[in-house]
């Protein structure tokens, strides 16, 4: 590295030092108005040469450039110039030195005399003068070189930095990728560098015209990543772990909820879908659960602005990049919302260089993959006897015998049919779902103004009939250089999404999945599909085999067709950002954004809906959520010397969030049956909530400094003021600090085999405020009586609330070998989230049901490993193979002084989700079998094992022991093949579906022992050691019916028997894509045509529990983890994608 340093003698105001500026300015000819009468008056004794130059510049505008290896500008001289010319002064200064100079416009470059080149000095220009010089320097001798820089696809790259090696002479390419540079010497080596691309050196000679092709950086450490507040940083400089995901895959193997596409690709990221069908939400957790009250999900940031937390309606076509900031360290600057990490999405912008139109079409087909083990031997009834009105399958063996029909239809009274197994009656409910998506993108722009427009139309259908989705999404973005100094970036995004009949989850009258799973094995699809009949009053009523037998059961086809719901979502996001260059290295960004979500829903329940709405009901809900963000950021970047660079930033943010909701329904009975209008009711019920506003105001500052791009140090600090905390604690500050060292840059003779060797460590604190309205106890007015009712709510306020605090430490290293062919990234982290805000349940006899409190300390400790390899790269053939691995343990260090245990939820009485001191976060407790001191199961006199009186058995946590993924891409010329395999090891799921299936006699497990003879611990559950209450061996036989009805009883299931391992390995994604040869596409007058065939969630390579997909939960809250209840079958999807880029 050259020690040479060009100094510019005192810049003009507003034109600060930038090494490559010189060349750039030389290229322009009219930057300064002419100052013809350039005469100088300057007198002084023992002043420095530097101050001579300074005076020269102040009086004439001439700027002197020189390399300080040529001239010591601290040398003291005596001067006495009166009305002297510029050449007089320059000649005086270089007198006696082996220097000459050239003048171009208002710039004066001092350089070494060129002995061998008489031309160089010019005609009498600057010889060894004696203090007086007559002529002004003539045009200097220079060696122009020009060229063009392109990428691998032959597209020009603008903004590529071109510098002459060993100097700071340089320029950058224009929008056409072109550059011109004037070299002071005849030959030299040019260095081409561009973010995200490999640096390239090229030897050039005189009058060179060069074409340079830059290749994308294969070493991920050269990546540029978008970090907090939209800052683009080189990945190698980061002091914490992040991982970016290719956005191309998101639109090829499309998921309606884009987050699902990240499964298996990011170490430490866990994604679980809910059972809501097409367009449903997902639960996303980074580095484990930590929040007792909150949901531990990350913050989503789009173009630097935190969004309302709904990622599922975002359009992946518009994504330019996704970067996952895994922990508090990375996300500290986002404050309160980022203690669970952040997912940073950057949307596309228009390009300056050319017009572009691109069309992308995807078709995906979803297929239900049923794994539940239904039995196909026994029909409807109890105790082996057929009953047409039974909800159970404990009836007789199905042999085609003639039985009475279950229909309630009076016109079909007395019908019979031959009872035989209906092995497909469950799957008959489902059909193939699909997603069709078309995206058109247009980009156009000049150097000053660029526009990007994108429109996506998506149509989808779930695997349940009538569950459909239509989404239209528009994005318009414009970036404008309003003046040389002022840049505008503005964006409008509008999404309209209509969802019909999203599937209700879990054990619910309205969940057709529950209804179909629990259908007896003899019910014929064609009979079940006759789900209604005309009663004596001429009203359509539900026809169902067992009305009222189970309080949540109905005919699945009735639920599907007669309990209809529609959801209409309108989302608008607007953002305007202005950046003003106060100076070359100082700029100010001011930004405002508005994110608004309107959600309107309605539900129509027909007359005859059992239990919930026997006389019909119509419900309308509306919610309005908005998020206002305004922020500013002042950034200053400075290179102190060749060795030291730093940047500092200061900013502030105002955030205001609110949502109000309104709902109304017709009450218990519609006046006119099946006419759905709110006025069709005597007793409409309405409710309105004006919402819970939240105002957080913040100031922050952060800075980075690096030494020789080898040692990096970052510091951040943020102070928040939150409207939800008491006055004395509403202001809170939190800092972070991180450092990284690139050993390969630091140590001169570091082995060349390493392309990188980096160590990093960081420490962060993040504060977080409380939900609104926790500081006072409130009372609610409601109608009734003479003067209304007033009711105190059940939560005791806490006026001493403090902000939550997450303290996170992480350390790691990256090593890369063989020019990036092999890379390893290792991270260890430890996060403690303390002072947590949560409610603890009080006994209701205390006069309140819960109390807000600060407390708790949850520790997440884990490792993440990424291994990236390129095993083969020969010619056009390239094989990439990447692995990721993560392990986390979430430990509850402390809960609260008042209570060492908090029950977060009790899911269907099969899983109590518990936060308990000293245990894993979210250990699940359930009913189990009673054991003696020797661990033997105690069997009662009736032959059934005794069941614990409460949910006292700990079956463990949903959090897996570890998760891993393998992704690979094999490419040859235009053809590439890629796949993702992911693995989940361990973690427990309570399978409520299974409990129901055995209870109703539907699963294969219930086939044995229908006539009795099952001796628990002997020929049945023989791996259990048992003892009777009298200390004897158990020999009492039971029937399958009495055993399973007791163990699977949906109101008190013995969850110990239904705790399943979530271990599974699956082929998450596979894609093959082909770009048509350029010769072909150009004949078609298009730039590029790419065809892909993709598959998602193709199959389980192995799973420890058949029929259970541990990734499908009921809901997205914390307590939904580890609980599976009537989830729809796993779906696999296949599809094709066609992308055409027009020029």
């Amino acid at each position: 590295m050259s020690k040479g340093l060009i100094k510019i003698a005192r810049s003009r105001p507003g034109y600060s030092i930038a090494p490559f500026l010189f060349a750039l300015l030389l290229a322009h000819s009219s930057l300064y108005a002419s100052q013809d009468s350039a005469y100088v008056n300057l007198q002084g004794k023992r002043i420095t040469i530097a101050s001579v130059f300074k005076a020269l510049q102040q009086q004439t505008g001439y700027i002197v450039f020189y390399d300080n290896s040529l001239l010591n500008d601290q040398e003291k001289v005596d001067v006495n110039f009166l009305h002297s010319s510029v050449p007089d002064i320059i000649s005086f200064v270089i007198n006696g030195k082996d220097l000459t100079y050239v003048v171009k416009e208002r710039f004066i470059l001092l350089k070494k005399k060129q002995q061998a080149a008489p031309k160089a000095g010019g005609n009498g220009a600057a010889g060894a003068g004696n203090g007086t010089v007559n002529g002004v320097a003539t045009a200097p001798q220079d060696f122009p070189v020009s060229g063009v820089v392109k990428n691998a696809e032959g597209e020009p790259l603008s903004g590529v930095s071109v510098t002459l090696k060993g100097t700071r002479i340089g320029t950058s390419t224009n929008v056409r990728g072109e550059f011109t540079l004037t070299l002071p010497t005849e030959t030299g080596v040019l260095i081409f560098s561009y973010v995200g691309y490999e640096k390239q050196e090229l030897k050039v000679g005189r009058e060179s015209k060069v074409t340079v092709k830059l290749v994308m950086a294969s070493n991920s450490l050269n990546q540029i990543v978008v970090t907090a507040l939209g800052l683009r940083q080189e990945k190698k400089s980061l002091t914490y772990a992040t991982q970016s995901v290719s956005t191309e895959q998101l639109t090829e193997a499309r998921e309606l909820n884009v987050m699902n596409s990240l499964e298996g690709k990011v170490a430490g990221l866990s994604i679980s879908q809910n059972g809501g069908g097409v367009g449903g939400a997902s639960r996303v957790v980074l580095r484990g659960n930590r929040s007792i009250f909150g949901d531990s999900q990350p913050l989503y940031v789009v173009d630097g602005v935190p969004t309302i937390g709904y990622p599922e309606d975002l359009d992946p076509d518009n994504f330019a990049s996704i970067n996952v900031l895994k922990g508090a360290n990375a996300a500290a600057l986002y404050g309160s919302d980022a203690q669970n990490g952040a997912i940073i999405i950057t949307t596309k912008k228009g390009r300056a260089d050319r017009n572009m139109i691109s069309v992308n079409n995807t078709f995906m087909l979803q297929q239900a993959d049923m794994g539940l083990p239904f039995q196909n031997l026994y029909g409807q009834g109890d105790l082996g006897a057929y009953q047409s009105g039974s909800a159970y399958a404990w009836g007789p063996q199905m042999t085609g015998q003639t039985v009475a029909s279950w229909t309630l239809d009076p016109s079909r009274a007395g019908e019979t049919y031959a009872m035989s197994p209906q092995p497909h009656n469950v799957m008959d409910l489902f059909h193939n779902g699909y997603t069709i998506s078309s995206n058109v993108q247009m980009s156009t722009g000049t150097e000053k103004s660029q526009t990007f427009f994108s429109m996506t139309s998506t149509e989808g259908s779930g695997i349940l009939p009538l569950n459909t989705l239509l989404r239209e999404s528009f994005l318009l973005r414009t970036t404008n250089k309003l003046t040389d100094k002022l840049t505008l970036d503005a964006k409008m995004n509008y999404t309209l999404q209509n969802t019909n009949n999203p599937t209700r989850e879990s054990a619910d009258n309205y969940n057709p999945v529950q209804q179909i799973y629990t259908m007896p094995r003899n019910i014929r699809t064609k009979d079940a599909k006759r789900y209604e009949y005309l009663n004596a009053n001429g009203l359509l009523q539900q026809d169902y085999w067992a009305p009222g037998v189970v309080s949540t059961a109905e005919n699945p086809y009735w639920v599907l067709n007669r309990n209809l719901s529609y959801d209409k979502l309108n989302r608008f996001t607007g953002m305007v950002s202005l950046t003003y260059d106060l100076a070359k290295d100082l700029n100010l960004m001011v930004r405002g954004s508005y994110d608004r979500l309107n959600d309107n829903g309605q539900q129509m329940d027909y007359d005859g809906t059992l239990v919930r709405a026997p006389y019909g009901r119509y419900t309308v809900t509306k919610s309005f959520t908005y998020n206002l963000n305004s922020d500013f950021l002042l950034s200053y970047t400075r290179k102190l010397s060749d060795d030291w660079k730093f940047d500092v930033h200061a900013g502030g943010n105002l955030k205001y969030v609110n949502n109000d909701t309104m709902s109304a329904n017709t009450g218990v009975a519609l006046l006119v049956p099946n006419f759905f209008s709110l006025s069709n009711s005597n007793l409409p019920v309405t409710s309105y909530s004006p919402g819970a506003p939240l105002d957080i105001q913040s100031l922050y500052a952060f800075g980075n400094i690096n030494w020789r791009e080898a040692v990096y140090l970052s510091v951040t600090g943020r102070n928040d003021w939150s409207s939800t905390l008491p006055a004395n604690s509403r202001s809170y500050f939190y800092p972070s600090v991180g450092a990284s060292v690139l050993l390969n840059s630091l140590i001169p003779d570091f082995p060349k085999v390493f392309s990188i060797a980096k160590l990093r460590a960081s420490y962060a604190k993040v504060g977080s405020s409380a939900p609104p309205f926790m500081l006072q106890r409130f009372a609610t007015f409601s109608s009734g009586g003479t003067n209304g009712f007033l009711q105190l709510n059940g939560i005791l306020p806490n006026t001493e609330l403090k902000p939550e605090q997450t303290t996170s430490t992480e350390a790691g290293f990256n090593v890369g070998f063989f020019k990036g062919r092999l890379g390893l990234d290792f991270t260890y982290y430890n996060t403690n989230t303390g002072n947590q805000l949560f409610t603890i349940s009080l006994p209701v006899g205390s006069g309140a049901s819960s109390l807000y409190t600060n407390g708790g300390d949850v520790r997440n400790r884990g490792v993440e490993i990424e291994l990236n390899t390129v095993p083969v790269e020969v010619g056009h053939f390239r094989w990439e193979l990447d692995f990721n691995f993560s392990h986390v343990r979430n430990t509850v260090v402390r809960v609260s002084d008042q209570r060492p245990k908090v029950i977060v939820a009790n899911q269907s009485y099969i899983s109590q989700y518990v936060i308990q001191q000293g245990k894993n976060f979210g250990d699940m407790y359930t009913f189990g079998l009673v054991r003696d001191s020797l661990g033997r199961v105690i069997v009662a006199a009736n032959g059934l094992p005794e069941i614990t009186s409460s949910q006292s058995v700990d079956v463990g946590t949903y959090t897996p022991d570890w998760m891993g993924g393998i992704s690979s891409t094999i490419s040859y010329k235009n053809l590439s093949f890629s796949f993702v395999i992911d693995h989940r090891q361990g973690g427990v799921v309570e399978d409520y579906t299974d409990a129901n299936l055995v209870y109703f006699g539907l699963s294969k497990a219930t086939v044995n022992g229908r006539n009795g003879g099952l001796v628990f611990g002997q020929n049945f559950f023989s791996n259990y050691k048992t003892v009777t209450t009298t200390g004897k061996e158990n020999t009492t036989p039971v029937t399958a019916e009495s055993f399973w009805k007791t163990m699977g009883n949906p109101s008190i299931p013995v969850g110990e028997l239904f705790a399943r391992s979530g271990t599974n390995t699956r082929l998450r994604e596979a894609a093959i894509s082909y770009s048509l040869p350029r010769t072909f596409s150009s004949r078609m007058h298009v730039a590029n045509i790419k065809v892909s065939l993709v598959g998602r969630n193709l199959f389980f390579i192995s799973r420890s529990t058949p029929g259970l997909d541990p990734d499908i939960l009921t809901g997205t809250g914390t307590a939904s983890e580890g609980f599976s209840s009537f989830a729809p079958p796993t779906t696999r999807s296949f599809g094709a994608n066609l992308k055409v880029d027009l020029k």
Binding site: Q387, G548, W721, F778, G785, P843, G845
Partner: protein
């Protein structure tokens, strides 16, 4: 110039900071919900709705209070109603912890909170008459809780702590007596006051009526404990009568209803999973009681038909509780039209809290026991029937009432037929309507309690308590018991403590079970006042289905 820019830039954060600190001024108002009031801002003008809330939800409540607690337990254990929903297994003696939990929580998290709040507020603000009325109202609503569970949270209620200890039923009852003492004393000094005005949904602030109601409650409580502490029972009963009880139907404690606070039956008859029991049919049909048509509709559909009055046995198996029965298509009787939803022509009647008739039957029993009630058992018995008839069946003429009182009708056998099963349903008893003053003590008691049971049609928790206390009316064995350790001939004795108490208040509930309950926490442990020897209870084995 350049310096200026830097200064300006540097000022920005400072300026922002200044703006921010200014902006936090509205934080307090922002953090206040627009649609709620703070507890601290409740004043005398909003106190009325607070008391109304305690009155309505204390006595009727919502799903948790009424449906899950009373309808699904008391109404079927009293054998006034039978459930026809196949999923409602409490009638087959199966415990349902989540229903009890909802009931317990619904009581303690709303009416108990509000009555406590009103009591404390009025005490702190020297509102003596209001304070006295609030204390009186506390008695019937907590009485129901202790009758359901035995030991309950009472004296420590509202301590705001993570553990709240229980009181024994004996001490709760004794507290009731002293609360009534002090409240009545205060009201007697404030007879012209109108506490809570028309926000009082029972008496609209009529102090005299509240005093009579308080004394009547004392009489009820006294009688309830007669098998546990006969001396105290007599003492309190005589004191109550001497002080003046509800004299006639104009003094009845009736909770008023509106379209926005419905009578409890009216809330649920759109589903109507509750219908007439065989016990009802045997007694009312056998007695040829005019109240039969006041209480019940003829079978033939949810809103009534013309298939006659048909009751169902309690504890049918879920298969027997088929939808045909539930929809009434099988001919079983649902409640009469006045309790149907407004849309179906219901009238949403007032809800009796305590009636003059009940007071008469209490006095009759007192007189039977030889206490000084100011009259004979027979006279009070007859007066009670008259008041009950006038209240429930006002169209019945005085002559018809007298004829009824004099009749020697006895309960009838109930025919099988509604469900296709052979039930063995003999006459429920052989007592007559006419008072048999010469009969045995138990027969006279059975007559009094049976007539009181008829009057308690809308207070099934009282009817269940009396059935537990005395064994009357006899009722029938249930058809099927899902609990192998509880025979079909049993009466459920209490409700078990809800799981939420075991998870949120475990120390206290365990202490209550081991120290105060006098038995395991199950449905067969008898509460403190339930001390009549089991051998004195009627034998129901004659109605067991073979």
């Amino acid at each position: 110039m350049s310096i200026k820019k830097y200064v300006v830039a540097g000022m920005l954060p400072v300026a922002m900071a200044a703006v921010l600190t200014g902006c936090t001024k509205n934080f307090d108002s922002l953090n206040m919900p627009q649609n709620l009031v703070t507890a601290s801002s409740i004043n005398s003008s909003t106190l009325g709705p607070s008391f109304s809330d305690a009155e309505y939800y204390g006595f009727i409540g919502n799903t948790g209070g009424w449906e899950l607690m009373h309808e699904l337990h008391a109404s079927i254990y009293s054998q006034i109603f039978t459930t026809t929903s196949a999923g409602f297994t409490t009638d087959e003696f199966e415990e349902n912890a989540s229903w009890v939990d909802a009931g317990w929580t619904s009581f303690y998290s709303n009416p108990a909170v509000m009555i406590n709040f009103v009591k404390n507020y009025t005490a702190a603000h020297n509102m003596a008459p209001e304070n006295a009325v609030a204390k009186i109202w506390e008695v019937p609503i907590f009485e129901r809780m202790t009758d359901f569970f035995g030991p309950i949270i009472f004296s420590q209620f509202g301590n705001g702590q993570t553990s709240v200890s229980y009181d024994s039923q004996e001490s709760v009852y004794k507290s009731f007596f002293s609360i009534l003492d002090s409240a009545v004393t205060v009201l007697q000094q404030n007879t012209s006051a109108k506490p809570f005005g028309n926000s009082d949904l029972v008496y609209s602030g009529n102090v005299g009526r509240w005093i009579a109601f308080a004394n009547s409650l004392r009489l009820r409580l006294a009688m309830r404990i007669v098998y546990a502490d006969a001396t105290l029972a007599q003492q309190e009963a005589e004191k109550a009568v001497a002080a003046g009880t509800i004299a006639d139907n104009t003094g009845n404690a009736l909770l008023s209803t509106t379209a926005n606070n419905l009578d409890y039956l009216t809330q649920w008859t759109y589903i109507n999973p509750f219908c007439m029991s065989a016990t009802d049919q045997s007694i009312l049909e056998g007695f040829q009681d005019p109240r039969l048509t006041a209480f019940w509709a003829q079978g033939g559909g949810r809103t009534g038909g013309n298939m006659g009055y048909n009751g169902l046995r309690n504890g049918l198996t879920s298969a027997q509780r088929t939808s045909a029965i539930r929809s009434g298509a099988a001919g079983n009787s649902f409640v009469a039209k006045q309790w149907l939803p407004l849309a179906d022509g219901g009238s949403n009647p007032y809800v009796p809290v305590m009636t003059a008739a009940e007071v008469c039957f209490l006095k009759a029993e007192g007189a039977l026991r030889g206490w000084n009630m100011g009259g004979t058992a027979e006279s009070f018995y007859n007066q009670g029937i008259t008041y009950s008839m006038e209240y429930w069946s006002p169209s019945t003429s005085p002559a018809a009432i007298n004829a009824y009182i004099a009749s020697t009708n006895t309960p009838s056998a109930v025919p099988d037929g509604i469900v296709a099963a052979s039930f063995n349903t003999p006459p429920e008893s052989n007592i007559t309507v006419a008072y048999e003053s010469g009969a045995s003590f138990e027969t006279q008691l059975e007559q009094i309690i049976t007539q009181k049971w008829i009057d308690l049609f809308l207070s099934p928790w009282e009817a269940w308590a009396e059935r537990r206390r005395t064994g009357y009316p006899r009722g029938y064995a249930i058809i099927s018991s899902l609990n192998p350790s509880i025979p079909v001939t049993s009466i459920i004795r209490r409700m078990v403590y809800p799981p939420s108490e075991y998870s949120n208040n475990s120390t206290a509930v365990n202490a209550a079970v081991s120290g105060l309950l006098n038995g395991p926490d199950n449905t067969m442990t008898r509460v403190w006042w339930d001390q009549k020897p089991l051998t004195d209870y009627p034998d129901l084995s004659s109605s067991v289905v073979p």
